[in-house]
Amino acid sequence: MHPAIQMTGRSRNTSFLVEQSRSGLAELAVWTILLLAMFLAPGRHQLLSEIAIVALFVLSLDLIMGYAGIVSLGQAAFFGVGAYSAGLVAIYVTSDPVIGLLVSAAAAGLVGFATSFLVLRGSDLTRLMVTIGVTSLLGEIANKATGITGGADGLQGISIGPLLGLIPFDLYGTTAYGYSLAILFLGIVLARRIVGSSFGLSLRAIRDNQLRASAVGIPVNARLVAIYTISSVYAGVAGALMAQTTQFVSLDVFDFHRSADALLMLVIGGTGYLYGGIIGAGVFKLIQSVLSDATPQYWHFWLGLLLVVLVQVGRTRVIRSIANLLGLGPRQISPQANDAKMSQPR
């Protein structure tokens, strides 16, 4: 079409985008640690399993916030749908965990798809309202539908059969950790594929500049619906894992704290490079166990204080210095750049 342009083509830099989606040393280190923990911390498998699940949940938030610039305080909605679906499948249909996981993923994806249209238009403010509102709404439904969900008593009598028909879940959470870790690994691998694709590139473009994105021919709304749905599937799988590994679901799956904590973990871990969830969840659980040992009832006070200090000092600065301390390059963690979409006040 444009001879002037195409004749001079050279390809010396073309491998750049490929490189980006290749795994690095830091990635390998993370997985080594997580695997080693299986053997080195045998008494902590329940906690580790919880961390892996929460990490997956935070990853779901990273997909929409870190990559597509959608701020949400209602990610718990999909976590809850996944958890209840998994519980109900186990009680009424089959105790096979993998089938339960797939059904929950589908259910959460469906709810995510249906509600995605509400977050398309509008500002950060509208999105906050909608995401909080949808979560409260679902929580209220779960609360009222006592016949199905057990209401405030929670969903009881969940029993989960052996994994793949072979490995039974044990009391120490060893199977649970292995299972959660495997799903988290799968989740990260898939997510990396997605964000490294042309689709993922278009999401980052939308996050950066929605108007310009549509002017290069990107159907912005369709892409946002897609990633929101994918993200809700991730959150739903996390919820299902929690239901299956703890064999209990209660109304607190829809808790505002759950969404807010996820946001905090993501911010601690860093947005937009997929591993923020794992790092954030690890750090968060560490802080939580220290604080709640000291003041079991009031640990959210200290958490709040942490948030206030973090923002006041400048979270970019704090996180970057921690990242440097850990030897993760500054290029990987750049929360500032990644909420470029979060519009500046006038």
Binding site: P3, T8, S11, N13, T14, R193, S197, L201, A205, V220
Partner: protein, 251 residues
């Protein structure tokens, strides 16, 4: 008779009580170089926004190659070959030059829906992206993110992105405004070497550029067409002079 590349019929846009675009019927012949000029506040930007689908008209319609595109969104029009550049740089701050160009190429070819294949694995896309970078003298900054580029380089990237979408009709909104002299020459060269199967609308204040580039000129004043004609006709039109002299006095 071939259909016009771009055409508007009785296009009207009102904001509350203000008529920003007043019954504009505009035609862009195939392959032509058409400049759209007018004093500040003449409604050029509104008109561009109506063409590209950023705004919906109060009444009237927009036709691209004889086809009514009034119902299409921004991206739908781009897909059909109606591409614009922005007056103020509208780039993706955290995307590198290569990523930005690869994005535009991959969206043009309809790969953007694919969540599986790595963006960089399609050789054709990367080749075209780096070729574009070469043309626009951006090869040295291929791996730099857009927000780190100089203003001139950002302008060049802005236009390169529009090229990457392989336009049939290209709307250039003050492409050379604020660009340093060296880069400016590059931009003008590239514009001059555009293939004739691309029809171009140029919105510009710089009259030297307008008269050297355009074979047709439409003058917009207060939201409606004052006159249209060849460069000679327009430059000798006393009404046009009056409008511009009037503005010069105000400034």
């Amino acid at each position: 008779m071939s259909t016009n590349a771009l055409e508007t019929r009785q296009l009207v846009k009102r904001f509350g009580g203000i008529t920003a675009t007043d019954n504009v019927s505009f035609t862009l012949e195939q392959g032509s170089r058409h400049a759209l000029i007018g004093p500040n506040g003449a409604g050029k930007t509104t008109f561009i926004n109506l063409l590209t689908g950023v705004l919906n008209p109060t009444s009237g319609c927009v036709l691209l190659n004889g086809e009514d595109i009034s119902g299409l969104g921004i991206h739908g029009r781009v897909r059909r070959g109606l591409v614009r550049t922005f007056q103020i740089n509208q780039l993706f701050p955290t995307l590198t030059v290569l990523e930005t160009l690869a994005l535009a190429v991959s969206e043009r070819d309809g790969f953007g829906r694919n969540p599986w294949r790595p963006a960089g694995s399609r050789h054709g896309i990367m080749k075209q992206a780096s070729a574009l970078a070469d043309t626009f003298l951006l090869t040295d900054v291929l791996r730099n993110i857009a927000s780190s580029l100089s203003y001139g380089q950002q302008r060049l990237l802005e236009i390169a992105v529009a090229f990457a979408s392989r336009p049939k009709v290209l709307l250039l909104d003050e492409p050379a405004a604020g660009v340093p002299e060296h880069d400016r020459a590059t931009i003008l060269d590239v514009l001059a070497s555009l293939p004739r199967d691309v029809s171009v609308v140029l919105i510009e204040h710089d009259m030297d550029l307008v008269f050297s580039f355009a074979d047709m000129i439409t003058v917009l004043v207060s939201g409606s067409v004052l006159t249209r004609g060849s460069a000679d006709q327009v430059s000798s039109d006393p009404r046009v002079k009056a409008v511009y002299l009037g503005e010069a006095e105000h400034e």
